[in-house]
Symmetry: C3
Subunit: 346 residues, 3 copies
C-alpha cells in the first residue's frame, strides 16, 4: 500500500459533504476500525453492535449517523450513510498504487499487438497476437492474454490472470490473481456411452467497472457469448458457466457456482457458496443467501434461502418446524394412544 497523504476533517467534508462536529482542523491520515484506530485515524460506526467500542476508541475522529452523533465527544463527521462515507474517505486516503508504465524485459508480446506507452506489463507476462490494450492498463506478472483479447482503459490485472483468446474486458476492470476468463464451457454430448466434446466458440464479454476475485473462473460461451454487465462484483473462487448473463451491478460472494445459460438480473446480491443450476432466469434485485441452492427460476425481487431455495421467510419457518418435528410426533403418539384407550373402553 502506498503511504497515505494527510487531510483535515474540513477538507474531507468539502469533498464528500456531511457535517463536522468538533475541530475541523483534526488531521487524518488513515482509516481504521474503532478498536485499532490511533490519533490520526478516522473510524466509523455503521452498525449498532459496535456502539460499545465507540467509548474506548483511540481514533482521532469518527464518521457516524445523525442518530448516533451524541455518543462520542470526539471530532466527528455526521452523515446519512456512514459506511459509504467511510468507503469514500478510504478511497481518498488509499488511492490505487501508481503505475510504472513500460514492458518488463522478461514479458513476451506477440506480433500484431501494440502496447500503449501508458501501459504496464509485468515480469513474465505473455500477450498474444492482435491484443488491444486501452490506456493505462496494468498486466500483472505472469499473466497470459490470448490472441485477439481486448482490455479497456485503466483495467488492472493482478499476477497470473489468464484470459483466453477473443474475450473482452471493459474499462476499469480489476482482476485478481489466478482468475481464468474464457476457458471452455462444460459442453459435452453422449455418444454411445462416452462423451464427445462440443467446441466452445462463444466468447466472454465483460463490461466496465467489473471486479473479479482470485481464482474465479468465467467460461466462454458454447455458441453465443457469456456476458458480465457493467459494475458486477465477483468474489474469489466463483464459477460462471457458459452462456450465463450477469446483470449490471450484481454482486456475488465467494465459492458460488452458476451453471450454464442461467441469466441473473441486475442489482442482485448473491451470498457465498450459493449454487444456481443451469437454464434459469433470476429477476432483478433478487437477494440469494449464502449456501442457497436455486433449482427454479426466480421471477420476483425478494430474498431467497435454503436447499432447495425458497422465500427466506418460508425457509426460516420450515427450519423451525423441522426442529420441532419430534414434539409433533409426540403429540401424534399421545393422540393415538388416547383414542385407542377410548376405543378399548368403548
Amino acid at each position: 500500500m502506498a503511504k497515505a497523504k494527510k487531510y483535515r476533517l474540513a477538507q474531507i467534508v468539502e469533498r464528500f459533504g456531511g457535517e463536522i462536529i468538533g475541530d475541523p482542523q483534526t488531521p487524518i491520515s488513515q482509516v481504521a476500525t474503532l478498536q485499532s484506530a490511533g490519533a490520526q485515524d478516522i473510524s466509523f460506526l455503521s452498525h449498532g453492535k459496535y456502539r460499545a467500542q465507540l467509548a474506548g476508541t483511540g481514533a482521532g475522529a469518527v464518521i457516524l449517523a445523525r442518530a448516533d452523533s451524541g455518543l462520542t465527544q470526539l471530532p466527528r463527521i455526521v452523515c446519512a450513510d456512514p459506511y459509504l462515507y467511510f468507503a469514500k474517505v478510504s478511497s481518498l486516503l488509499n488511492p490505487p498504487q501508481a503505475i510504472s508504465p513500460g514492458v518488463h524485459r522478461s514479458a513476451v508480446i506477440e506480433r500484431g499487438t501494440r502496447v500503449p506507452a501508458s501501459v504496464c506489463v509485468g515480469a513474465g507476462a505473455y500477450i498474444g497476437r492482435g491484443v488491444k490494450l486501452g490506456k493505462a492498463v496494468v498486466i500483472g506478472a505472469g499473466c497470459c492474454i490470448g490472441d485477439g483479447v481486448e482490455i479497456g482503459a485503466a483495467s488492472r490485472l493482478h499476477a497470473r490472470v489468464t484470459i483466453y483468446a477473443g474475450c473482452r474486458l471493459g474499462q476499469r476492470a480489476l482482476v485478481h490473481a489466478g482468475a481464468v476468463i474464457g476457458a471452455d464451457g462444460f459442453g459435452i454430448a453422449l455418444e454411445e456411452g462416452s462423451w464427445r466434446k462440443i467446441p466452445q466458440i462463444g466468447r466472454v464479454l465483460i463490461g466496465d467497472d467489473v471486479e473479479i476475485g482470485a481464482n474465479t473462473c468465467i467460461d466462454r460461451g458454447a455458441l453465443d457469448d457469456t456476458v458480465v454487465e457493467d459494475g458486477v462484483k465477483l468474489d474469489n473462487l466463483i464459477q460462471i458457466g457458459h452462456n450465463v448473463r450477469i446483470g449490471a451491478h450484481t454482486a456475488i460472494a465467494g465459492c458460488t457456482g452458476i451453471a450454464g445459460s442461467t441469466r441473473i438480473g441486475k442489482h442482485c446480491m448473491i451470498g457465498g457458496a450459493a449454487n444456481i443450476v443451469g437454464h434459469l432466469d433470476i429477476a432483478d434485485r433478487v437477494v440469494i443467501h449464502a449456501a442457497a441452492v436455486v433449482t427454479k427460476s426466480i421471477r420476483k425481487a425478494g430474498s431467497y434461502s435454503g436447499h432447495p431455495a425458497e422465500d427466506s421467510r418460508s425457509w426460516a419457518q420450515h427450519v423451525v418446524l423441522l426442529r420441532h418435528m419430534d414434539s409433533l410426533r409426540e403429540r401424534l403418539r399421545s393422540l393415538e394412544k388416547s383414542l385407542s384407550t377410548r376405543e378399548k373402553k368403548a
Copy 2:
C-alpha cells in the same frame, strides 16, 4: 477460434448420416443457436422448449429429430439425436487450433527431458527433469511440469497448468488454465494437539481423453495413486482428494468436491457443487444432482439428490412434505382440540 471452412449440407450428411430435406447444396460455415443464427449457419432443435424459436430463426439450415421435421420449411437434416449430431458438425466446423511446434525461447526445459519436434512449448513454461512428452503435445504458456511427469500424445495444456512430479496424463487430454494435478493430499495425523503432516507419496494417474477444467485440483495419493480413468470429463474448480478413483466416462460439473479414498463408478454424472465425503463407494451409472451431499456409499445405479443425499424421488417428496408441515401441524392441533372438546363433553 480459427476461421471456419465452408461445407454443403450434402457433405455433412455424407460424413455423419441423417437425411436432408431441402436443398443439399445449402452452404454452411458455422453452428449457431436458433436465435442468433444467420444464413450460413446451421442450428439445431434438441429440446421442446426452443420450438417457438424455430419459426423466427435466420439459420440457413437446421438439425432436428424426425418428429420435429415438419416444424420448419428450412433446409434441414433429420437424425436420431440432434444434439449429438450438432456436436459432430460443430467439431467439423471448429477443429482445434493448429499447433505451431517448437519451444518458445523463454521456456525452460531441464536436463534429461527430450522435447519431440512435433511438440509446442509456450512462453515461460517450465519443464522439469526426465519428463516424457508424446507427439504433438501442447504445453501452454506459464505451465509448470514437475520431474518425471509423463504426458501422452496430442494432449493440450492451456496456460498456467501445474503438474507435480511423477504424475501421468494419458493421450488427448485437455487441461484448462490454472488446474493443479498432483499437489499433496490432505493427510495429517494428530500428535498431542497439533498436526503432523503425512508425506503424500502416491501419484496421480490420468487415462486417455480426459478433460480437466480451469483451476480444478486433483491431489496425489497418500500411499497408492489417485486414478482418473479414460474419458472422464471434469469441469472447473473441482476438488479431487487423495486416492480417489473416478471410473471411465464419468462427467463431473463445477465446484464439486470428492473427499479422499472415495471410488466413483463408470458412466456417472455428478452435478455442480456436489459434495461426496471420503471412503465411499459410488456404483456405476449413478446420477448425483447439483449440490447433493453424499454421506453414504451408493450401491445402485439411479438418481440421487439432497442434503444428505437420498433417492431423488424421495428427496423431492420430503421437500414437499417439509413445505406442508405447517398444515400438518394445523391438522394435528385441530384434532387435539376436537378430542379435548369431546372429552370435556364426556
Copy 3:
C-alpha cells in the same frame, strides 16, 4: 519422490518407541497400504474395517495397536496410536526433497530484496522490492511475491503461488500451487445502486507450520489484518474472507468457505465444503462436518452438521424424522378418519 533409505525395525523403534514382536532386523524401505505392500514395506492397521486385509498383506512388517497384535504373525510394531506412528515412519522414509539453493537465471528479483544463499528461487519466479526471505526458503517456478512480503525460514512455495504486497508467512510454511494470499477482500458499499470498492488495506499474517492447499485463497484484511495462526492446515480450494482469524492447529478440508470477519477457534476441525457466514465466533475444539452451513456463532466445543448447522446428533434425528414424515402424515390421516367416522356414528 526421492529414493527411500532402508531402516531395520529395531532402528525405527529406537526412534519412535513401541514394541517389536518378531525379527527386529526386518528391513523396511517404504510405507504402503496393507493391500499393496511388498516385502520391504511396512504397513499399518488403524481402523477395524481393514482387519480383513491384514490376513492377505504382503507387507514385511505392520504397525498396530496392542489389541490387534495377535491378528498377524508378521514382524510388527505394537504402539498406542498406529496412525500417528505410521505418519512418523513415513516422514522418516520420505524426507522432503533436498533443496538446490540458487536463483534460476529466468527468475526476476527486484531491487531492495536480498536472497540468502540457502534459498532456492525457481524458473520464472518474480520477487518484488523489499521482500524478506528466511533461510532455506524455496520459491517455486512461476511464483509472484509482492513488495515487502516476509517469508520465514524453511518455508516452501510450490509452483505459481501468488503473495500480494505486505503479507507475512511464518516458518516452515508449505504452500501449494495456485494459492493466492492477500488478494483484496470483498469490500464494497452501495452508492445509488452501484458498488463502490473499499480499499483493502489490511494484510494477511500467517503463523508458523501452516500448510495451504492448491488454489486456496486467503484475502487481505479490509482495515485490520486477516490472521492464520500457527499450525493451521488448509486443504485445496478454500476461501478465507477478509479479517477472518483462524485459531492455532485448526484443520480445514477442501472447498470450504469462511466469510469475512469470522473468528474460528483453536483446534477446530472443519469438514469439506462447509460454509461459515461472516461475523461469527466459533469456539475452540469445534468439529464442523462436511457441507455444514454455519449461520450462527458456536459458543461450545462439540460436533455440528446440517443446513443450517446444528448439533450433529440433532441434525441426524431431524434427517430421520423428515424421512419418516410421510408415515406421520399417514397416521394423522387415519386419526382424522377414525375420528370423523366416530362422529358420524355419534
